[in-house]
Symmetry: C2
Subunit: 190 residues, 2 copies
Amino acid sequence: MPRPSVRGKLVQAGLETLHAKGFNGCSIQDITEAAGVPKGSFFNHFKSKELLVLDVLGPYGESNRVDMLFDESKPPLERLRQHFNFLADSYARFDFERGCLLGNLGAEIATSHPPVREALREILQAWSGIVAGVLRKAQAAGEINPDLDADELGNFLVNAWEGIVLRLKIVKNREPVDEFLDVCFRLLLR
Amino acid sequence: MPRPSVRGKLVQAGLETLHAKGFNGCSIQDITEAAGVPKGSFFNHFKSKELLVLDVLGPYGESNRVDMLFDESKPPLERLRQHFNFLADSYARFDFERGCLLGNLGAEIATSHPPVREALREILQAWSGIVAGVLRKAQAAGEINPDLDADELGNFLVNAWEGIVLRLKIVKNREPVDEFLDVCFRLLLR
């Protein structure tokens, strides 16, 4: 395995630190210390903490394994349920304390940092579109009513999920996830 | 009208400033400047910014007019729809940029400030319980299926709403609200 570059270490440590402490809750020094690199090296790679944020969103997105939604070996609704359970399990590893980096950044700095808002807008739109695609597959497979508006439901599910994750950070147990799964898969997606 | 006390000015300015800039995004000086009081006076009234947060949650909750949910002159589901529309209109006044103070604080500092987390837990639990109560009234009035689990749906709706508000901050138009209302009132609550 190649040794990670300084830039790679900063992205990895930035992801961890921003997720754990929030944008304004961590300093550039917190990030360079976590990366084990000299503080001054940060500005060789990023002009600002905001620009680092834009770079951690890619690796964060990959860690969420949206590719699972394309696994044609499983029925569409089962894929979708596994996707949400995978995310819930990833939050549980941090005792639900970190939540979703996308939601955290959206709540904290979407307004003060327009480039972050724009990046989040694109990511959430893409994710919602992928969920809508799974719903269309579920309609084609006869799993849910073909008259449902898949695009609207894709947006709704992703948005609702972000709210569920927020409540997870507050109650620190997975009850909000189980309620979400029950309401969505038993009452809504039929 | 009595002149507001220094403490009252700090609570009002704290609410505005925390809502606009976030907890770590504003300084105590930002708050005292917005209140038009000397910086030193802050600590005569609050030992920390965290303790001010706990004091602004009451006035913030009142501004959300949860009392509308108890207005027996209207059918339960109509009350609920008006409640969410009232909140959406209140966010629209700030071009959707501020979102919900509860969600913002939850995302940003629930983990780093346990007393804030506990206060948010109680507020969200109370709000969810009130929504559940409206759903039980809707069941009694024959508006929705009496077999639905009102407590589960109350939690789900409040959680989903907080996620909707997050997306509002990012897209800056009310489409997520209209999708939420359509999905919830046409597909779910029946």
